[in-house]
Symmetry: C2
Subunit: 246 residues, 2 copies
């Protein structure tokens, strides 16, 4: 058995999320399985770092899979991308350790969320960001973002109803950056994330930037562990999985 890892990039717009689903549902995993099934029949032990939701994009998702035969990586990669649809690309295929599992072996995941804070949306960003016309207070959002870092119970900041185990996660960093063209990036890295966690964290920060709540409300939500004490959930289309490290 030969083990491989690869980076997968996809435009989530036309996918019902990463994970394969029963029925006639277009997913990233489904498309990968179709192509891998042709080029590496009998591939096994498929794993992936992050189960992104419907509409969420990835610049850097990581997958793992096993093959019975050694692959000519360059040719395999070329053929795989020829078979895959236009909105998925597989990059950096390489041999992985015997026990590599894209999810279990991951040490850090990073997501970015994009907001255009202007009177109108950009033609090139409208599929990849949300528009907020009300002027956002960047400084207030930055200060509040710091309150997310560290080891905390994120029960209030997720939609995980079927809790298996605990909701404690470690946020390594949570940064708010402003780019030209009134583009704002929320960049969050953690050991792992709960269901909808990034989108609820960003929604909470936006409500602070809009002056609808103060930073103290984050502390309150951490304490109460009640979902409605946190902010709104923002749409999937602004979210990108941008890095996974091992």
């Amino acid at each position: 058995m030969y083990n491989f890892s690869a980076v997968v990039e996809y435009d989530g717009t036309d996918f019902k999320g990463f994970q394969q689903q029963p029925g006639n549902v277009r997913t990233v995993q489904g498309e990968l399985f179709k192509a891998l099934g042709i080029l590496a029949p009998g591939f096994s032990r498929f794993s992936y770092a992050g189960r992104t939701d419907a509409g969420v994009h990835a610049r850097h998702q990581v997958i793992g899979f096993g093959c019975r035969e050694a692959l000519n990586i360059y040719r395999f990669s070329w053929k795989l991308n020829c078979l895959l649809p236009d909105d998925i690309t597989v990059k950096n295929i390489s041999r992985a350790a015997e026990d590599f599992d894209a999810r279990k072996s991951a040490k850090m995941r990073q997501y970015s969320y994009y907001v255009v804070n202007n009177s109108c949306q950009s033609v090139f960003l409208k599929k990849y960001s949300i528009l907020i016309t009300r002027k956002l207070d960047i400084c207030a959002m930055r200060e509040a973002a710091d309150m997310f870092t560290g080891v905390k119970d994120f029960t209030a900041f997720c939609n995980d109803n079927l809790k298996s185990g605990h909701n404690i996660r470690e946020i390594y960093s949570c940064a708010v950056k402003r780019f030209s063209g009134e583009l704002i990036e929320f960049k969050i890295s953690a050991n792992a994330f709960l269901y909808n966690m990034v989108r609820i964290m960003v929604g909470t920060l936006l409500e602070i930037g809009e002056g609808k709540r103060d930073a103290g409300s984050i502390k309150k939500a951490f304490k109460s562990k009640i979902r409605k004490d946190a902010g709104r959930i923002v749409p999937a289309k602004g979210l990108f999985l941008t890095k996974v490290t091992y």
Copy 2:
């Protein structure tokens, strides 16, 4: 008569260029005329800074137009963008001088061309860049790019067969920048450009980066004024009009 200027952003993929054409041809100007005709019937003196070709994009095209009535700019802008299709946005509408003409008044135009120099194309850049898998020599292209600057006769670097006047243009700067993800940007600013000029300049630089010609061949083409002494023309989809100044 009230004169206005505005910035127009568009994804050129599904347009047969900026300029209106007879028949059932989708152009940026055609779409703007439809929307302006509804919101500002009888608008006049329409002008635009650069006649971009089929498939060329714009982050910053400038238009000018006259109205018989003063506009509530904020409301007009909002309505205009509601009427326009998803691949055009109008921004920064403002009052302009009596004699403003988006083309004649322009002092500088800037274009950027994007190349992904990698073994595979990026999902997010494939509509906005070309892929070159052969490793490009950035230093050689940078050195050669310098040879374009200044006041020169660009006859060899354009496809203008119907010459009206001369082919002398002044290039203010021609820079080659490398970004992460193996993205290369060619950024060129000039007083004005000839037909296909940017795409032929970039094609020539790429042939230098690929080792197929040397920088001396640029000098030769300037001297001979023969189109075939310059390099190939690169596809439209990598080209953006990025700035116009007045």
